[in-house]
Structures are given as structure tokens and as C-alpha cells.
């Protein structure tokens, strides 16, 4: 059970004023401070090959630790620790809002994000672009993005023989650069080819799949990140907290101003009531003085 740093009411307030995304990022960033282990999370469209890739990266092809299939097989964020790295598999995006929310929440609690794209579908879809932008924007500076984001094209085997494959890859790279605003590690891999290579004991196939290079990079990246995780995680939490505070203070100021305006408006309307009462009272006082005077005069007749 994850510790809850915010009460239910506080989370409602955060969601209401800062939006669910920032609220989720803030909670995730704080939770991520509790773990010293590097967390690597995957994300991408349904059936882009995220779980298959994770089975290979965690050496779990045979037991299929992360269930795979053509349909929406991953419905919760499954995780597995391998080589001192926690691999977290998330549901595909753009199918269910609940899946998207879970993916985002999981990503906010993670260190390195593998954005997985099925190259068979060509360039990034609008949804993928938006998703990548959301992730990228949540990370702050380009330096942090370079350290935390890795872009992976899967199903390389389906298109690599095509004449324009490099062009497609370059187009995707260019889109990613445009969205992230900096160059991030980029890989194209084929799980199928790697498994063939393993099954046929053909190292060349394995190498050509791009998986060994990716695996080595991730392990190296994991170790590198582990040394600075505390600093990065705390910096990230500070940054997200500052973002939330800034929004909350701004809304607080607006609310305060509105309260003052409302108060002034009521006071203004009551000023006329006070004047009306003052007039009524003065007339009454004059009648009463007149009556008292007459009474006195009567007494002296």
C-alpha cells in the first residue's frame, strides 16, 4: 500500500484547482522520493508491443511475465524488478480514460519513460504526439527530458525492408524532436526478430533486432540514473510542487479579490439602507421632539 501524502479532501482540492494531471504528477513525484530503486515505465498505444518488449528486457519471454496479445491485455500497472531496476508495464493509451489516467499516474511516479511507437503504423498519430507532449511538458528542462525520456519504435521487422524505411524513421525522429524540443535517445527494435534469433541461436538476428543495444543502454542508463535519482527525484518534486503552489496562490489571490469585491458591493448597497434608516429615524425624532414639546407646553397652561 502506497503511503498517502495528501488527504482525500486535499486531492480533491488539487484536482479541482490544478487539474488531475498536475495533481497526479505532484503525488507521484512525492511517492517516487520513497524509493531508491530506478523505475522505468513504458507507455504507448495499445498493441504497440510494450509488454513484449518488457518480457525481453526482463528476460521473461518464456514465462511471459507481462501478458501480451493483440487486444488490450494490460489493464493495470504491472511491475517486475530485474537487474535492480523496476520495470513497470502500463495499459495502452487512447482506449479508456481510466487506462490513460492510470498510465499517467504511473509515469509520474517513475524515473525513466520508454515511449513505445509501432512503426508499422507510420509516423506518430495525433494522440501519440499529444501524449508525448504531455509527458515532455511535465518534465521541465530539456536536460531532464534527455535523461528521462527514451523513444522506441517497435515492429521494425514489418517495414525495415521497405525502401523508404529510413525516411519514415527520420520523420518520426523529427516529430519527436519537434515535440520534446531536444534530442532524446531513439531506438528501432524488433521483438520478433530477437526471439527468432534466440530460437535459432543466431546472434546476428539478435543484434539486428536492436534489442541488445537497447537493453545495454537501459541498464547503463538505469545505473547512471540510480546515482542521481535522489537529487533528480527531489528536484522533480520541488519543480512540480512549485508549479502547483504558483497556480494555487494565483487562484487564492483571485478568490480574495472576488471576496473583497463582493464585500464592497454589499457594503455599497447597505450604505443606501443606512441612509434610508437615518432619514426615517430623523423624522421620528422630530415628531417625538414636537410631541414632547407640546406635552410640556400643555403642562404649563
Amino acid at each position: 500500500m502506497m503511503p498517502a501524502y495528501f488527504t482525500k479532501k486535499e486531492i480533491e482540492t488539487l484536482n479541482h484547482f490544478c487539474g488531475a494531471d498536475l495533481s497526479s504528477r505532484l503525488q507521484g513525484a512525492r511517492r517516487n522520493l520513497d524509493s531508491s530503486m530506478v523505475r522505468i515505465v513504458n507507455t504507448g498505444m495499445v498493441s504497440s508491443g510494450k509488454s513484449s518488449l518488457y518480457n525481453i528486457l526482463t528476460d521473461s519471454v518464456a514465462e511471459e511475465r507481462f501478458p501480451t496479445g493483440a487486444a488490450r491485455t494490460t489493464t493495470s500497472a504491472d511491475s517486475y524488478v530485474y537487474n535492480s531496476i523496476e520495470f513497470i508495464d502500463t495499459p495502452g493509451i487512447d482506449v479508456r480514460d481510466a487506462d490513460d489516467a492510470l498510465s499517467f499516474q504511473t509515469i509520474t511516479q517513475s524515473d525513466i519513460i520508454l515511449m513505445v511507437h509501432n512503426i508499422k503504423t507510420g509516423p506518430l498519430t495525433r494522440r501519440e504526439s499529444d501524449w508525448l507532449k504531455t509527458l515532455s511538458d511535465s518534465m521541465g528542462s530539456p536536460e531532464i527530458r534527455q535523461k528521462r525520456l527514451i523513444f522506441i519504435c517497435t515492429w521494425k521487422d514489418t517495414r525495415e525492408m521497405e525502401e523508404g524505411y529510413e525516411d519514415i524513421l527520420n520523420e518520426v525522429k523529427s516529430m519527436v524532436y519537434g515535440i520534446v524540443g531536444t534530442e532524446i535517445p531513439f531506438f528501432d527494435v524488433s521483438v520478433k526478430k530477437y526471439i527468432n534469433g534466440i530460437n535459432k541461436k543466431k546472434d546476428i538476428l539478435c543484434q539486428k533486432s536492436g534489442i541488445p543495444a537497447l537493453s545495454a543502454f537501459i541498464n547503463e542508463k538505469g545505473a547512471e540514473y540510480s546515482a542521481v535519482k535522489r537529487v533528480y527525484a527531489y528536484d522533480n518534486f520541488q519543480r512540480v510542487a512549485a508549479e502547483a503552489r504558483s497556480i494555487l496562490y494565483s487562484i487564492r489571490r483571485d478568490l480574495y479579490d472576488n471576496t473583497q469585491r463582493k464585500r464592497n458591493s454589499v457594503e455599497q448597497s447597505y450604505r443606501s439602507r443606512r441612509n434610508a434608516w437615518s432619514n426615517i429615524f430623523n423624522v421620528f425624532k422630530a415628531y417625538r421632539e414636537s410631541f414632547d414639546r407640546l406635552k410640556e407646553e400643555l403642562r404649563h397652561i
Binding site: T13, L26, Q238, N258, W277, F291
Partner: protein, 137 residues
């Protein structure tokens, strides 16, 4: 001789006294003077009646005005029940002012309650964020 003087002197004295009394009676028996006295009394009576009517009219006016125009501006039952002719005027003024001040405060509270609640909720979250930032792991 002495007796003569005494008799004559006494008669003069009596005569003088008798003359003086007669003069007084003569005044009262004078018709004009009596008429003057009666007019003054009547005038006084008329003045009294006029003043009484004026006072009664002023009494009605102050009571009606108090009941129709002042009472709706008051909250204290004792002041509302008391007629305008006898109610304590400074208390009326004070209660009328208090009523407006209370209503104004209630109106401000009602119209700003939601915003104040939201400000409190925000303050609570900001405090929590600050606390978490202080707890650097």
C-alpha cells in the same frame, strides 16, 4: 366733649371702612369687569383645548409613524411594542443601526462563504505542500 369726639371719630372710621368695602363690592358688581374675567377664562380654556388637540394629534402622528415606518427597522420586541410617544429614542436609533449592521454582516458572510471555503481549502493544500517540501528525504 371727649365722648362727642370719640363718637364722631368712630363714625368716621366706620364710615371710612364702610366706604372701602363698598368700593370693592362695587368693582365686583361692575358688569364690564366680570365680562373680562370670563373671557380670559374662556380664552385659557380654548387655548388649553387647542393645545390638547395639537398634542393629541402629535401623539397620534408619532405613534403611527413609529408603528408604520420605524418598527420594520427594529429587531427588539420591547422597542417594537413600546409606542412612539414613550419609547426611548436613543435605544431606537441603536437598535435600528444594529439591525442593518447584522444584516450586512450576514449578507457578506453568505455571499463570500463559498469563496472563503475555497481559500481555506487552498491554504490547507499549500501548507501540506510546504510541509512535504521541508521533509527532504
Amino acid at each position: 366733649m371727649a365722648v362727642i369726639f370719640a363718637v364722631v371719630g368712630g363714625a368716621v372710621v366706620i364710615g371710612l371702612c364702610s366706604d372701602s368695602d363698598h368700593s370693592d363690592y362695587s368693582d365686583y358688581s361692575n358688569y364690564d369687569n366680570y365680562s373680562n374675567y370670563s373671557d380670559a377664562a374662556e380664552r385659557r380654556e380654548r387655548r388649553l383645548r387647542a393645545k390638547q388637540e395639537e398634542t393629541e394629534s402629535a401623539r397620534q402622528k408619532v405613534n403611527e409613524y413609529k408603528s408604520d415606518s420605524v418598527n420594520p427597522c427594529l429587531t427588539l420586541k420591547s422597542l417594537i411594542m413600546e409606542p412612539g410617544e414613550s419609547v426611548e429614542v436613543p435605544s431606537v436609533q441603536r437598535n435600528g443601526n444594529e439591525k442593518i449592521t447584522d444584516e450586512e454582516r450576514k449578507k457578506i458572510d453568505a455571499e463570500t462563504a463559498d469563496m472563503k471555503k475555497e481559500v481555506n481549502e487552498i491554504d490547507q493544500v499549500i501548507s501540506k505542500i510546504d510541509k512535504l517540501l521541508e521533509e527532504k528525504p
